[in-house]
Structures are given as C-alpha cells and as structure tokens.
Amino acid sequence: MPTAAVTAGDGPETTAGREALRKLKSTDPPLYLCPSEDLSKAARLASEYLFSSLKPYTPKSPFSHLLVNGFDAEQIWQQIDLQTQPLISSLRRQVKKFEKNPEEIRNLFNLGEKDKKNDGNDVGTISNGDEKMENEEGFDEFEDEEMEGDDDDDEEEEEEEEEEEEGNAHEGKEEDGGGGGVEDNFLKIKELEEYLEEDEAREYGLKKEKKQGKRDQEDDNDKEGDDEDEDDDEDEEEEDDELGVMGVDVGEDDESGEELENARYEDFFGGKGKMGQKRKSKLLHGSDNLDMDGELSEESSDDEKNQSQKKQKLSTHEKELEKLHSTIEQMEKANLEPKTWTMQGEVTAAKRPKNSALEVDLDFEHNVRPAPVITEEVTASLEELIQKRILEGRFDDVQKPPTLPSRAPREVKELDENKSKKGLAEIYEEEYVQKSGLVSTAVSISDQQKKEAGMLFKELCLKLDALSHFHFTPKPVIEDLSIQANVPALAMEEIAPLAVSDAAMLAPEEVFTGKGDIKEDSELTQAERKRRRAKKKRKFKAVAAKRMANKVQHSSLQNRVDGNEES
C-alpha cells in the first residue's frame, strides 16, 4: 500500500497502524465473514492510526484520538463520522475543481521546485486514490451482501469505515500536504463563486472570464476575514444583481484588473468589437442557445462579428424568450414522436424493453390494509391489556346458564291468623254448593291459573302438531251445551265491585214469549175478569167432554168384549 505523502506521527504507533492496514488489505475477503479476534484488533488499530493522521486536517474534530477500547461499532463509527463529514465535503469540492482544471493544482500548492515532483506524485496518487476508492466501493458492496450475525456485523462495519478512511486519507494527504496553509473558508468561497458563474454562463450564454478573475481578486481582498455564510450570501447577491452577465468561464488568471473596472454598459449592450471578439473565443464551451451554435459553425468572421454584436443587443427578456421558444420547439418535437412505453396505456411485456419494468417505479393503489407486523411494541401493548384485565378480573368467559326450575314451587300454605269473617255455617254452605256443582266458582287462584295454563298448552300442542304432521286433521269443534241458570251475574262473580250489576243471565225472550197487551190480575176490569172465567170454563168443559167420550168408547168396547164373553 503506497503512501507517498509524509505524515507526521509517532514512530511505533504509525508503524503499528500501517502494519494493521497492510494486514487487513492482504486478508482475503471471505475471511472477514468469520469472526476473528486478530482482524478485529487490526481493524481497530488501523482506524486509530488513520484517525490520528487525519486529525491535523480537520480543525473541528473534537477528539484527539479515536477512542476504541470498550466502545462498540456504533460509537466508533460516530466518532469517525464526526471527523470525516466536513472533510469529505471539502475534498469533494477540491476534486471537482481539479477535474475541471488540472493546472489549478500547481497554482494552489505554490511549491517551487517540488511542484513537478509533487504534481507527478499527486496525480499518481490521485489516480491511485481513485482506483482505491473504486476498489473499496466494490469491496464494501461485497461486504454488505454478506453481513450476518452480530459479531460479523461489528467487524465488518469497522473494516468498512477503515477502508473509506483510507481513501479519504489519501485525498487529504495529497491536497493538504501540498497546500500547506490553505484554509477551509477560502476554498468554499471560491468553489461557490465558480459554480454560480458557471451556472449563469449556462443560463445566459455569456462568458466573461476576465471579469471573473478580477472579481475573484476583489472578493478575496474584501471578504477573507468574514464568515463563510455572509460571504456566500453576498456572492449570491452580487450574482443576482448583475443578472449573471458577469457569469463567465472558470477562472483564468491572465485577466488584468483594468478591464473589470472599465466594464460598462456599452460592453454588453452596445459595444462594437472589443468584448465581442474576446467573447467569441469562449463560446466554444457551448450553451443552450441555438443561435450561438449556429454562429460557431459559420466561417466568415465578419458574420460572426455582426451576429455576436446582435447577440449582445438582446436584453435578458429577449434571452428568456429565446430559451422559452427553444423549449417549446423541443416539446413539440417530443409530442410528434411516439411516446415512451411508460406513457402508453396497456403495455405487454413484448412491447417494452427487457427488464424495463424493474427500473421504473410503479405505483399501485392497495385497497387492503397491510397485514400487521408484530413488533415489540405490539406485543407489549397486548400484554399490558391482558394484565389490566387480569387485575380487574374482567374476563369474557362463557357463563353458566340460569337453570329453569324443573318442578313448580310448592305452594306454601299460610295460616291466616285473623278471625274468619265468615261464620262456620256459611263455610259449610259454600262447601256444599261446590260439591253439588250448582255454582261453579274457582276455589283458589292457582286452580284458575292451572286451567289457563292447560288451555294455553292445548293450543300450543295444536300448533306444533300442525307443523309436524303431513296429514293433519284438526280436532272437531265441540259446541258444549251448558245450562245457564237464570241467576243474576252478581252471584257468579266473587270479586266484582258492587256498583256493577249485570243483568240476568237469561234474555227476556227466554223467560217469557207472548204477544199483545199483557195485563196482570189486579189490572183487569170486571168485564175482563168475567170473560177470562168464561173462557176457562169453556176450556174445562171441552176437556171434560173429551174425557167422557173417551170413557164411553172405552166402556163400549169393554161391553162388546163382555157381551162376546157373555154370549
């Protein structure tokens, strides 16, 4: 594992750390799967070593050493994380910058003779570092797939951290070893400026590298001492104010300060020649503006000159309009073409490229509530509920049914202690009446209830039989003959109030049927009385005569018989 940069460190510790790193690098990947003490120790050592070597480059790190003993993977990782997060972001920015402009490296480092060597080394180590990063990333993925078991987890996490750190260490060493006193603040401002300018260049298609360089220097002079945030804000404001017209290529250092100060309106909107020519050469970096591209392809310089002048005459509004037109044209073109398969309606597997459905994020509406995942909390809440119920004693058990009485409760005969209201004779009278059956009265209430119950049960049985027999004949209705005594109803009921009196049980016609004017004996006049007596006599006489006739007949018969006998 080549470490080109020199890092200050304690002799024995660095060597131990390097040894550990070497060892880890040399072990086969599958060996990491089994928990092993050596690997774990080596990983810890390596992490410590890397941490302490990176310490000088991260001013904000709160730890002086990586605390490894007695800490678990999570905690170690947190410490490393604290250190590396700001480091990584700054390194990324640096790398981007270097990608754009490799010459910058030389300028930044400001090293005289060592330049070439260092550059060569740095470039070499940069490429090595890149490779290493790639290797490590590949390795990390491999490890991710194979993580199983607690012990394995710890170890592998540590190894991952350590590998990432190695990459970081490399990049850190390259840059910071050469740069010396480069501060974080400064780097960030520059980065932001460049980015903003580039962005605006892309937007509005104008590149002014001269202005850029001048502004850089001005900014440096003005803002070195301020806070980062303020700087950033101010940068942005400046950019916005000037509508990005200042937006230019990434810094070129051969611009002179005079041109920036002399930047006038004519330069942008009416300048003839000066700016236009210089700008022409920067147009090679391309833009969204089709006109510009058209310009580039033309051969005549005059034409270019003229058109570039026209270009400058366009205000921002016109530029925006041009951009809008170009987007409209693009969209119209897209509409004319056939749509992608995701935009078409029903697409079978044959109509789309292979495995393309895996790449697209398909969204289904699920109408079913998903099955519950039984987590610790769910179990805990269930157990709480159960405990509560047990404490209250509130169970939902099956209850024993209330048993119906199988036998009717015995009638408890109470001895009435009051003096009987009826005399003894009356009691005997009632008994006799009951026995003879002249008056049918219910003796006790329970009898009445029994009768009622009997009737109800008969009805019920009738209904049940109706349900259950195929051939069902109902019982014939017997009209019962009952003699109704012509006794007033009052005597039939015991408990009727006195005020109520029903009439006699027999209807008047049943008592007497007769016609005409019926008069009583006392009402008759003398003549009437005589008439009645005469009638009676006549009737009596008629009856007597008949009797006599019957007698004579009878006797004649007898005489004849006797006569027969006599003679």
Binding site: A371, I386, D397
Partner: protein
C-alpha cells in the same frame, strides 16, 4: 334422524319468520314499561292492547324479556354442556402442520385430533353429529405454514372461515426448557374490541369453543382485535410481589386471524346462506373496520 333434521330446520325457519313480529311486540312492551316507570300516560296507540301486554310483562323473566335473534339461537343451549371439539387438517398434511395441530389440541380443552386420511367433509360432519360433537376445526396450510382455519359449530351452526398470519408455533422455539409443558386447566378468556354486530357474532363463535372455567385458573387465552386482525395469545399468569404486579409467561402458539366469511350452515352445506363475506376489492375497504372500531 333425517325427519328430525328436517323438522328442526323447518322450526328454525318458522322462528326466523316470527322474529319480525316478536320484535314489534317487544317494542310495544318496552314502551309500556317505560311509560309505567316514568309515570306518564301510556301512548294512545297501545291503549287497546295494554292490558294483555301488561299481563305478559308481569309473567316475563330474564330469558324471555329480551327478543332472541334466531341467528344466535344456535348457541342458546351451548352453554349447558361443555364443548367437544374435533380437530383435523386438510388432506396430506406436512409435518409442521401436524405439529401445529398437535399444539392446538392442547390449547382448546376437551379436543380430539383426528388424522384426515381420505375422508370427505360430509362424512366427517355426519360422524361428529352422531357422536355429539359441538364443533369441528379444520386447519389448512401452505408449504408447511398454517394459513387457514375453519370453525364449524355442529348442530347446523354457523361456520367461520379465518386466514392465519404470522404464525409462531411452540416447535419453532427450540429451547424446550424455556417453554415448559402446557397446562390443561380450563382457561380464562379475554375478547377485546369486538364492538360491531359482526364482531359480537365472531366473539360468540370463538367464545363457545371454550368451556366454563374455574374462577381461579392461571391460564388465559386472548383474542384481541386490531383493525380486523384478531391476535391470538396464550399466557400463564402469576400474581407475584405486590398487589399490582402480574407476571405473564407466554406459552402456546401465537397467530393472527383474519375473518373472511361466515356461513349460516355447517361446512358440508355448500348451499347455505352466507351471513357475511369479506370484500377486499371494494374502493372503501381500506377505510372500513368490520369487526372492531
């Protein structure tokens, strides 16, 4: 036997027919009772029938006062005897399924397990009816994981079809000493969050699988409903230490039940009426909670 069955079925239908009228009567009686309690005059529409109804009210006891729905009439006499359950599987059960069924046999008291063999369902049900079983439980599986449970109450009772999820059997937990043996005392039962009518019906079906326990048993079975998924848990509890501390030890299998159908006949009656069936493809099915709240 056949004629008896026919008569019983006809009785059931007749009673179901009367249910509407009974409900009316019940309403009238209730109004009269209310009026009497409050001391208000009886509503005019009931004046004619008031005397007869009042008599009936006096003669009522707690059994007859509440109108019985014919639907739950199936469990009217169930509380008088201890339930007797038969446990079987679908055909050709795998080894994990037989283990699970063995565990279930100990969970519900008074259960018998039977090998399925090649029996037809109607045969099973007829033999059970002949031997006076009260319930039949059938367990289905998918590649070793139990995934279906069918509980059928026997004298033409309702059949409930459940799906099983997240099944954890006692056999999964390798440490035998930690689990220990399963006690066989009659357990207490907790039914939580069965608040709708359908929920009450399901609670009834599940409740009558267990007999009447002694009040001091230490074994407790829980059916807790959460958004239509019923969790089954089986614990042993101990009152240790102070008055408010209960220690729960989980024994027995653990699974979630999901009801998807209730039919009003036994398993072998395919043409029986469905009381309720799950509708998962309805647009509002995500919002509806059919069993609890």
């Amino acid at each position: 036997m056949l004629r008896r069955n026919v008569r019983l079925r006809r009785e059931y239908l007749y009673r179901k027919n009367l249910e509407g009228k009974e409900r009316l009567l019940y309403e009238k009686k209730r109004k009269i009772k209310q009026a009497l309690e409050e001391g208000k005059p009886i509503p005019t529409e009931l004046r004619n029938e008031e005397a007869a109804l009042r008599q009936e009210i006096d003669l009522e006891d707690e059994y007859t006062a509440v109108p019985r729905s014919t639907i739950d009439d199936e469990y009217a006499n169930a509380t008088e005897r201890d339930p007797k359950i038969l446990l079987t599987t679908s055909r050709d059960p795998s080894a994990p399924l037989t283990q699970f069924v063995k565990e279930l046999k100990f969970v519900f008291p008074n259960t018998q397990r039977m090998n399925r063999g090649g029996q037809v369902i109607s045969e099973i049900i007829e033999t059970c009816r002949a031997h006076d079983f009260t319930d039949v439980i059938l367990v289905h599986e998918h590649r070793g994981v139990p995934d279906g449970l069918v509980i059928s109450h026997l004298p033409f009772g309702p059949t409930a079809y459940f799906g099983l999820l997240n099944v954890v059997t006692r056999h999964d937990i390798k440490d035998k000493k930690a689990i220990g043996t399963m006690p066989e005392a009659y357990p207490h039962l907790i039914l939580d969050n069965f608040s709708t009518k359908l929920g009450e019906r399901t609670a009834n079906i599940l409740k009558h699988l267990l007999p009447v326990p002694k009040p001091d048993t230490k074994r407790i079975i829980t059916f807790a409903n959460q958004s239509d998924y019923i969790s089954f848990r089986h614990h042993l509890y101990e009152k240790r230490g102070g008055p408010k501390s209960i220690e729960l030890k989980e024994i027995g299998p653990r699974f979630e039940l999901r009801l998807y159908q209730i039919k009003l006949g036994t398993m072998d009656q395919d043409e029986a009426q469905t009381e309720w069936v799950l509708r998962p493809y309805m647009n509002t099915s995500k919002k509806r909670k059919m069993i609890g709240d």
